[in-house]
Symmetry: C2
Subunit: 231 residues, 2 copies
DNA sequence: TCAATAGTGTCTGTTAGACATTATGGA
DNA sequence: TCCATAATGTCTAACAGACACTATTGA
């Protein structure tokens, strides 16, 4: 047995039941949608987030990636940890601890007909275990709050996209309309995208040039602090 | 035993050993410092972050607050979850899972002489279990990335502070110098602080007026997207 | 032709940063 | 007095947002 310091008692760990929950998000019809699994083939109106327990010698990140792949068939474009939920809210597997992740799936890459699964708009979540509802809501909040820190918007789009599509993603995540000319000017100044030589015509109107995400360099400016977003 | 769906195999949870790790941060001498505990009264050069296992019926947040209080004597000015670390990096209690938190302690409120503890600048971390080093670094990164989303800077200052002190905190967290006049203009426009009728004289120079954090209202403007911070 | 969308040029009010200046204390 | 710091006014370049306009397709 180890000696203990007189000053600081050495704590000991506790065992808890743990699960990894994954909220996969994709843009659909100008809204964000999350992938839900039917809880039971018979219960039509009971749903779950994809989840599993970590296997031995598997880190939570690896578990999350495995869960996402098993549901989507392919890995998501991005996957990030949201946090650990361990309050009283019930988990479908009765895990004491939920290590939760958000994954981003490009628009259109989400095959419609995953067996027993459905993309559901985040404003219209059905009956869901309270823990899973909290995870889904935290996933959306996490993406919204990180949109201006990481190139998340590009993870919600295919490799080639129009600038209007990109602006739509930003408007979706920011929850407000943006000015077209300003958006493009700022985008051009940031050297984040480059045009391809392809064009896409959708319905009426002039065809749009396709762009790809190609961050080149950071501009030197780095303007001052913005207190606007602070509560 | 529960019936299992034919479509979706119902996962089951796994038990893991878990700990709650807390990185307490305070500004010291134009640097960020983290509170470390001596691992052992005899081993002078082995250190730990404050940590403990969650008690039964205690959420991780409650555990973190309890750990922080027990070390500081008082609750921290803010405490937020960073994430769950569960990779191979070793934890001092050999926990498989670390639920980690960052707590903010106002400048000066950190009593110097907590028995067996020391504030250490984050650039000069001593020998530390790899998991704890990762947590400490993630704590700093989390505060830095949230500085423009939440009024964290005010949690690192006492209730009354000078504008130069506030600017120092921002410079500390942003890692770059700010323009004084611009900083104050932006601050005034955001209605985040109000002057008190007290002044403080430190060494030479004109005494500075003390301000307090008093967010009044959000300005209506909400300007456009900034791509600068995106990689 | 009209409708709809893409993309761009110009104007204007706002703002960030530079600079200068005044204010006020301690050494 | 000199020096250091606080606090503020002014100027300018950059930028955000409004608006108008052209371009290009399908109906």
């Amino acid at each position: 047995m180890r000696e203990r310091s007189l000053v600081i008692p050495r704590p000991s760990v506790r065992t808890m039941t743990a699960a990894v929950d994954v909220a996969l998000l994709t843009p659909r019809d100008r809204r964000l949608a999350v992938l839900l699994l039917r809880a039971d083939a018979r219960a039509r109106d009971r749903w779950l987030l994809p989840w599993d327990a970590p296997r031995s010698d598997e880190s939570p990140d690896e578990t999350a990636l495995r869960v996402a792949r098993s549901v989507l068939g392919v890995p998501p474009a991005a996957i990030d940890q949201i946090g650990a939920f361990g309050d009283g809210r019930r988990h479908p597997g009765d895990a004491q601890l939920s290590i939760s992740f958000v994954g981003l799936v490009p628009q259109g890459a989400a095959s419609e007909s995953i067996d027993g699964a459905a993309w559901v708009e985040i404003d219209q979540l059905p009956l869901l275990a309270p823990r899973h509802r909290a995870v889904a809501e935290a996933a959306v909040a996490a993406v919204r709050s990180r949109i201006d820190q990481a190139p998340l918007a590009f993870r919600l789009l295919p490799a080639a996209f129009t600038l209007s599509e990109l602006q739509s993603i930003y408007e979706l995540l920011l929850g407000r309309a943006l000015h077209k000319a300003s958006f493009r000017r700022a985008l051009q100044a940031a050297f984040l995208v480059e045009p391809t030589d392809e064009w896409r015509s959708e319905g009426r109107g002039r065809p749009a040039q396709l762009y790809r995400y190609a961050p080149r360099r950071r501009r030197g400016t780095r303007r001052g602090v913005r207190f606007d977003s602070i509560a």
